[in-house]
Symmetry: C2
Subunit: 252 residues, 2 copies
């Protein structure tokens, strides 16, 4: 099978955390935005927006929220947000108040739209030789982020995306094998993950993260446990903050 | 600027709703799954799974939930789900009960992971000459879908994806111009959307959807209003169903 270059690039995806000191050209940025704008969108409603952060002070503030200092130095940084504010106000200017733009259906559509657009931009970026770094950590403190970026009600942050020309070559990080992630027709529970994950754990025992070259990252079960010992009590409040942003969770 | 072929493909994205009567080869499916599995994932946790539906009876049942008959005939159909069940049970088998896998942080991570993986698969599919059709409509009745696909607690449906070889050539559907969707450093409200959207409305007045060739789809504000007059009372309960699936929304 002849695998197109872009698909080979996809198969070679890894997070880049160190970039060359080189900005993206305006032409490149515009192309990436046009790609993001072309992404499939639920019902054609486009309930998402993109906020590009090129003011260093704001980037620094977001870096602090994310607790990741390398975010400050990312050559291009964009925030993808749920945005039902726009459509709510378009209808309002036509004299119609649509409560729908405050409900969970629109919220979920916007969240999905924003995520799909981000990944679409990632694929274009990697095809252009750029490296990418998702920042889920912007959600460490959604309230603070909303304040820093001036997000009005009926908007909500989803994910941050950093782009630049790579200045490092990380190893390809092993993934859970398809047989434990892809099912047919119905969900398949596994009675012995320890046994099923042997091959994966072996692969992880040979994987070194550039952030710590002294030892491999270790067994998946150990990572799961160590990474969730201390839960961020602010970050788990995501849906509470969505509620504060005007969304009706429609709980019974 | 030399735009790579794959990026040109991205710029030409449109939803395909009619496919040739030709299945995807096993090799193609495997490649697409490997691409999805390579997608960036929050914290390396991979809190998502994919359920391929190749049992016609189940496809029919999902088609009924989605209220879209053409879903029945999609050559390849996959459901992307939040899956924190796996990691919760991996830790449990090690003797550690991690409440984290029931919280909103993990849920949002899984939802994002699932969406990114779907779009990554879409990009690979389109590079291979396939057409794609997202089915957000699978969420019309999440409870019913959960039953049909046998989703255990700590999983939740996100989006459906249909793939096949295109048998139609729809027009490129206009998008909201970048200036109304992309902001710099802080959210920019618009005081007169009617005025700002003139160009976009003009473009929409020249766009015909293959589902109704008798008239163009019309002004964006009119679409917003007409599409949200009758809200699906089951579908807006998404977060209520997430709660029933074992997630703690962590509301104050």
């Amino acid at each position: 099978m002849n695998i197109p270059f872009s698909v080979q690039t996809q198969l070679g995806h890894r997070t880049i955390r160190k970039f060359k000191n080189q900005l993206l050209s305006k032409e490149t940025i515009n192309l990436l935005l046009e790609v993001a704008n072309r992404t499939a969108t639920s019902n054609g409603m486009q309930n998402f927006s993109i906020i590009i952060i090129d003011d260093q002070k704001i980037k620094d503030a977001i870096s602090e929220i994310a607790n990741q200092t390398h975010l400050k130095e990312v050559p291009f940084f964009a925030l993808f947000i749920v945005d039902t504010y726009r459509n709510y106000h378009i209808a309002l200017q036509e004299g119609v108040e649509l409560e729908a733009f405050k409900d969970m259906d629109r919220f979920i559509q916007g969240f999905t739209d924003a995520s799909l657009a981000a990944q679409n931009m990632v694929n274009a970026a990697e095809s252009l030789g750029l490296g990418v770094n998702y920042f889920g950590s912007i959600l460490n403190d959604p309230r603070k982020l909303i304040e820093v970026v001036g997000l009005p009600k009926l908007t909500m942050p989803v994910v941050g995306l950093g782009l630049g020309y790579p200045d490092q070559e990380p190893m390809l990080k092993p993934r859970i094998p398809l047989k434990n992630k892809v099912f047919y027709n119905s969900y398949q529970k596994c009675n012995n993950y320890n046994e099923a994950f042997k091959e994966y754990d072996q692969a992880l025992s040979e994987y070194y993260d550039l952030r710590d070259l002294t030892k491999p990252i270790g067994k998946f079960s150990e990572q799961i446990i160590s990474k969730h010992q201390n839960i961020n009590p602010v970050r788990v409040k995501y849906m509470q903050v969505a509620k504060e942003q005007g969304y009706d969770l429609k709980l019974d």
